[in-house]
């Protein structure tokens, strides 16, 4: 009974039932395949969505409802199965194969997840705008992610641990250790996601659950050996592959899986040097990256002095390493609750402003270097109607003068002077912590 329900449950978790998955699979453009697509397939395990949750229910215990329903349905199916197949006393072979599915699904998933940290894309170094945003103006999830991002070596270590757990799961002999490691890491991630509102607690918990299911058969013998101090036998059954062709199919399967989800995916990762957070490849205003004081600010030719309460007058301005200009004004904006933006279109890369308050506004820009124009558009999905066209002048390397039409159709004239702030975050650090990428 227990076995039968676990069997159906693992099928539910590991086999995608959503037709969208398959339509997505067939619409992949293989000629321009990038890692997010393949990594998404690899790590996209989880319970079928029996019910759709309201946004406000996605944080508490209710968010696990689909897993629970899957288990209840598995249990009911197991009851029927037991009635139909009363005589069977054991399902060794079937159990072996269901664990194989669980192992490979969990392994490829966690390897794909781990690669994002091993090649540190998931948490990048903070943007200059982040460096100049007060701690209390970030939502907790942002602080959690950025906290990892400031220590790129640590992120690599975390990625390595996840990939390592996955690789241990790919081999029968190291499976138990891999499953224990998977359970420990992913259980911690699930709890941290609850604490920080990270949003992937159910997904992480599903991985942890698979780890536990894989490890479960070994727990009695471990308990017997270590705690009771009795001799113990491993609770392991391998079907004999006496047929040569079964053996070859097994090797073929292993080799194909590893080629695609371990080696080819890794190749896709290292081939990509852009990551997925910031639009590094777009043209930018050259040699402008940095933070600027606003020395002079005119609206319709009237000088506005600095005030922390002014809703139009910029308090500072920041040119990022990519095509984003941010400035701080005392004006409210709709916060983006999401964390995504998996697109190469710069305006769609929403990671940098999502979940950051405090009055900093993020504008995506396109540059016309001949006319010396910046075409700016607010990145915030709720405020995309805010657009500016500003002419730039650079009297010297530390001064930029912007003039043109702002988001309220007023003419503005802004003198920016570079502020050479030396960030303590990067001071006083041992040389090994100097950063790897970019």
């Amino acid at each position: 009974m227990g076995f039968r329900s676990i069997f159906v449950f693992v099928v539910f978790l590991c086999i995608p039932f959503d037709p969208l998955f398959y339509s997505g699979l067939f619409s992949i453009d293989w000629t321009s395949l990038r890692w997010p697509t393949l990594a998404g397939i690899a790590s996209g395990l989880g319970s079928p969505k029996w019910v759709n949750l309201n946004p406000e229910d996605q944080w508490g215990l209710l968010s696990y409802i689909n897993l629970l329903i899957s288990y209840i349905i598995s249990f009911l199916i197991a009851v029927i199965w037991s009635i139909l197949d009363k005589k069977r006393r054991s399902y060794s072979t079937l159990f072996y194969w269901i664990l194989v599915i669980a192992r490979y699904r969990a392994a490829y998933g966690i390897i794909a997840w781990g690669y994002k940290k091993l090649i540190p894309y998931q948490m990048e170094l903070p943007s200059i705008s982040y460096l100049n945003t007060p701690f209390g103006d970030f939502r907790a999830q942002k602080l959690y992610w950025q906290g990892v991002g400031i220590a790129q070596h640590y992120e690599i270590f975390l990625g390595f641990a996840e990939v390592f757990a996955g690789i241990l799961l790919l081999f029968r002999r190291t499976t138990s250790f891999g499953a224990a490691l998977l359970f420990a890491i992913l259980m911690n991630i699930a709890l941290a996601n609850h604490a920080y509102e990270g949003g992937v607690h159910v997904h992480s918990f599903t991985f942890a659950l698979l780890g536990l299911i894989i490890l479960w058969p070994q727990l009695p013998s471990i308990y017997q050996l270590l705690i009771h101090g009795h001799d113990a036998e491993p609770n392991i059954y391998y079907p004999s592959f006496h047929n040569n062709w079964v053996k070859y199919i097994r090797y073929l399967f292993k080799a194909t899986g590893a080629s695609v989800f371990v080696f080819f995916l890794f190749y896709l990762f290292i081939k990509d040097d852009l990551g997925y957070r910031f639009p590094y490849e777009q043209p930018i205003l050259k040699n402008a990256t940095g933070r600027y004081d606003v020395t002079e600010f005119r609206v319709n030719n009237q000088i506005l002095p600095y005030s922390p309460f002014d809703s139009v007058r910029w308090q500072d301005a920041i040119f990022e390493k990519w095509c984003t200009l941010t400035f701080k004004v005392n004006r409210k904006q709709q916060m983006d609750l999401d964390n995504q933006g998996n697109s190469r279109k710069s305006i769609e890369m929403r990671f940098e402003y999502a979940g950051v308050g405090g009055g900093r506004h993020y504008f995506d820009y396109q540059i016309d270097t001949i006319k010396q124009l910046l075409y700016l558009q607010n990145k915030n999905r709720a405020h995309r109607d805010q657009q500016q066209i500003l002419h730039y002048e650079r009297p010297n390397k530390d001064r930029i003068i912007l003039s043109g039409i702002n988001e309220y159709k007023d003419s503005i004239y802004v003198v920016l002077d570079r502020n050479k702030h030396d960030y303590p975050l990067y001071q006083n650090r041992r040389p090994t912590n100097k950063i790897i990428r970019k």
Partner: protein, 461 residues
């Protein structure tokens, strides 16, 4: 003789088991490694030559922080101050212990040539290591379970730019904003510590804590936290405990074969059984006492935060609406080196100012026991952006005496009188230690923080 023999770890055969016991004789390399490990651990764990430890032990004030310090003890054959804080040099005392252990092990080998096994001594070494590790873990477990080690960021720190912290401080604050998760981490340490005290569960406890400490060690290096030597020491102890059963787990799970259990169970004389009971009771008492001290400190005045309450009704973040310096009104400015930009009154007797003036940051980690609020520097350790003043208030004459908490600016003092024209306004006026006069009109800003709004419901900020 019979009595001494009964000391030996006796080897129990199971009737069903036809494969008879493994030989009790150890291989020569095992004996050599054991002698070295034994000496190395003893040298690294006990204050053998360190008289200073005993003077601190008996002169120390009993509070959660000082006992935590005692549990963190590592012998200092070379004093810590003489060592580099980072890099391989910070492990110099491990080097000394290694060299001395090699020398002593060689001598031991010479005098104890015929010894074929050290089962008994290994058992006692494991006892020492298990308890030493358990004590280290329970102390750090409790100061996390009751979130003392990493407190919630102060209001001033919430008003400090991300880039103005040192990396270790960001790590601390990132943990500090989730006290429940911090408690969970403490719970893991406490649970592992209890598992380690019982011989049968010690391997499980060690297995759990290897993962935990492995992460702690890496974090200490990655964020320059500074406890890398001590956390590495605890990790070493955990690995040593785990090593005992590791071959059996390897055989069961990786080689996947029938595995013989550990047949050596210490048959203890009634006298040593007492020792065991005493150890367990002593550990339980220590854990209970420390837990209570931690709880009391947490509910009273957490040791990293100043303990005197702040000026009543003043807690909050203030805009400096009007500012006069030596008689001249200075308008809002982000660049003027005298103009206060904003002010924070903490719940405790600290006031912090934002001024466009460079700051030499307090380089310590603020993690020491100080009775005096002026010296409780966690709130400014590793933190730039703002100037921190500790104050005492004279509520009769309505004056505040402020002293800069940063040791680099000790001389900075302010004498200010205060008044509350209404609930959200404070007027401060007075003079600095350089006799510059200051007048500041403060208005409280009821700011909403993204940190508290979270991401569960739509919000406009």
């Amino acid at each position: 003789m019979a009595r001494t023999k009964s000391w030996l770890l006796i080897h129990i055969l199971k009737m069903s088991n036809s494969e008879i016991s493994p030989s009790t004789a150890w291989k020569q390399w095992e004996i050599d490694i054991f002698r070295f490990t034994f000496l190395f651990i003893i040298l690294l764990s006990f204050p053998l030559l360190d008289y200073k430890f005993y003077t601190t032990l008996f002169s120390t004030e009993i509070n959660v922080r000082s006992i935590l310090d005692l549990t963190k003890y590592l012998p200092q054959y070379i004093t810590e101050i003489a060592l580099p804080k980072w890099g391989i040099g910070s492990f110099a005392n491990w080097g000394v212990s290694t060299i001395v252990a090699i020398i002593l092990a060689t001598v031991w080998r010479f005098y104890d040539k015929n010894k074929r096994e050290y089962n008994k001594l290994y058992y006692w070494l494991r006892v020492i290591v298990r308890y030493r590790l358990a004590i280290g873990l329970i102390a750090y477990g409790f100061v996390k379970f009751f979130p003392l080690q990493v407190p919630y960021p102060s209001l001033s720190n919430l008003h400090t730019n991300y880039g103005d912290f040192y990396a270790w401080k960001i790590y601390y604050h990132t943990l500090g904003i989730v006290p429940k998760y911090e408690s969970f981490l403490g719970f893991v340490e406490i649970a592992a510590s209890v598992l380690l005290v019982f011989r049968k569960t010690s391997t499980i406890g060690a297995g759990i804590i290897i993962g935990f400490l492995g992460n702690v060690v890496i974090v200490n290096f990655a964020y320059d936290i500074g406890d890398h030597v001590y956390s590495s020491y605890l990790l070493l102890l955990a690995l040593l405990v785990f090593a005992y059963d590791a071959p059996r787990l390897y055989s069961l799970l990786i080689k996947q074969q029938k595995t013989l259990a550990n047949k050596y169970i210490p048959l203890l004389s009634s006298k040593t059984k007492h020792v065991r009971t005493i150890l367990k009771v002593a550990f339980a008492l220590f854990a209970l006492t420390f837990g209570l001290l931690a709880f009391r400190n947490y509910t009273g005045n957490p040791y990293l935060l100043p303990k005197n309450p702040g000026l009543s009704g003043a807690y909050g973040f203030y805009d400096v609406k009007h500012f006069v310096f030596n008689g001249d009104t200075i308008p809002y400015s982000l660049t003027d080196p005298n103009r206060w930009q904003n002010v924070v009154f903490e719940k405790w007797s600290t006031l912090s100012l934002k001024i466009a003036r460079p700051i030499k940051i307090d380089p310590t980690n603020g993690d020491e026991w100080h009775d005096n609020d002026l010296d409780r520097n966690y709130e400014l350790a590793g933190t730039g952006g703002r100037h921190y003043f500790s104050y005492s208030a004279d509520t009769v004459n309505h004056t505040l005496h402020l002293k800069n908490k940063n040791k680099y600016y000790k001389a900075e003092k302010l004498e200010l009188s205060y008044s509350f024209p209404n609930d959200s306004t404070i007027i401060l006026s007075g003079y600095t230690e350089k006799k510059d006069t200051i007048y500041a009109l403060l208005e409280r800003i009821n700011k909403r923080y993204m940190l508290f709004e979270g991401r569960r419901k739509p919000v406009k900020l």
